[in-house]
Amino acid sequence: MRSIGAEPFVFYSTAHIVELTGRTARTLVELREGIREVTGSSIFHHTFGALRDRPFAAHRYASDFARWTSEVLQDWPVAERLAFMDPTDFPSIRELRERILQVIDDRLAEEGETVPAPPGREFHFTQSISLIYPVGQAARTLTELAEGIRRASARTLFFHLVEARLRIGRCTNDLSAWLSDSLDAPDLARRLDQLDLLVTSTEDLRQQVLSVLGGPA
């Protein structure tokens, strides 16, 4: 392991603007059609965005689709299957979308169409527009990385640990990639890759990361 990284680790954050699409769904079939046709950024918003903005509910509802099918359609079998689908297990939005569609198709094949949502409880498809920007902090050593993690906002942590999986295209994250590639610390990288990202709060995630990095929380 090098004491100073070959390249600095630059901390970024994101701002998200929510855009209304005007598209709604009242039934499981309409939800399926919507999921099939909306943009990738809408799928991102309803899955990763749900994890980012409502981490306290992540263990129960890993996506807005799981929450709606449970709370509104009260279709427990499909809700349960969607709830157990961890978006961070998928290396791309395309594969995540296909898996969600498969779960709904399986349910429709079993049961057919279920009771529609009551008026006013429709599913509203929205999408995120993301602005990614550096927060003005960088790390060259393990100590500086830990200090940066200690100071980072919830959105910075989410960007580097969770959203990174989609950007890098493999089941890892920005921190692990830097530890492995720039600091030549593959063991630390592997341990970070094994973290459970569906934690109940960003603080829990921060503590887990700091614990792996070996610094005081």
Binding site: A15, L20, T156
Partner: protein, 316 residues
Amino acid sequence: MSPPNLRLDDYIPVVGVAAIEEIRALACRLEGRRALMVNSTAVGGGVAELLNRLIPLLEDLGIPTRWEVIRGGEEFFGVTKAIHNALHGTRVEITKSMLDLFREVNAGNAAALNLRADLVVIHDPQPLALIAARRNGRDHWVWRCHVDVSRPQPDVWSFLRQYVVQYDASVFSAPEFAQVLPITQYMIHPAIDPLAEKNRDMPPGEIEAVLMRLGIRDDRPIVTQVSRFDRLKDPVGVIRAYRLARRTADCQLVLAGAGPRTIRREQPSWKRSGKRLTGTPSSTSWNSPPSATGRSTPSSGPRPWSFRSRSGKGSA
């Protein structure tokens, strides 16, 4: 009243240093841009409350922001109230003369106000038609709709829509408010200000004193609504809910708030104070409405209406 020296750093104890630093990093990208907020009330109502807090924060971020309040008489604001009710789905008759007045007052304000800014944000339907005065395509106009428009009266929405489509973008408060529009529709959820006077933690002694003054018991559950006393807030629904609840629980009903007449159409509090924020225009650019529309909040503050259960002294 809002403190004129509100700073973004005041929120660090609530959201942490990192979140504030990130907002400042984002704001750097807007350096040199000027913003303008336009609404119809200076005091009272959610929009005025929001702007009183938001504008000092934008100034603190280095984004010079002006706030203009449109002028209009009782008749005009009667029309806009009817439009407001129609957007909420209440059947309202809107006549041609009412729409003509809406257009005329907006045109008059457009001629009187300085609407030049890089970003012009028009709040709610009252000043919506100011867009007709837009002079060039270099500035950006956004309509910020704070009203529930999920089931608007069709003819009223059709009238407003002709103005909405001229904006660059619109902002609504909930997904169900989305409309069929050729412009982008964004969503910003309603939020509360943790540092506002109404949201601060109250020490136990103060709570006790208020409950005692208003005759509210602290040993029985309370069913409450905190809102403007307005039919749109459905206070009757709250009373019905209370009646259902008291069948099984010995509870009290507290309707706490202020009436629509607490709305003032005059200068914002931090402008009246005589202090200027960096980048704000001189007071001569302020367009205060006729004094006839100025309404004062009682100095003693609004008194909640308290209803006790049948076993108590009063009844709903």
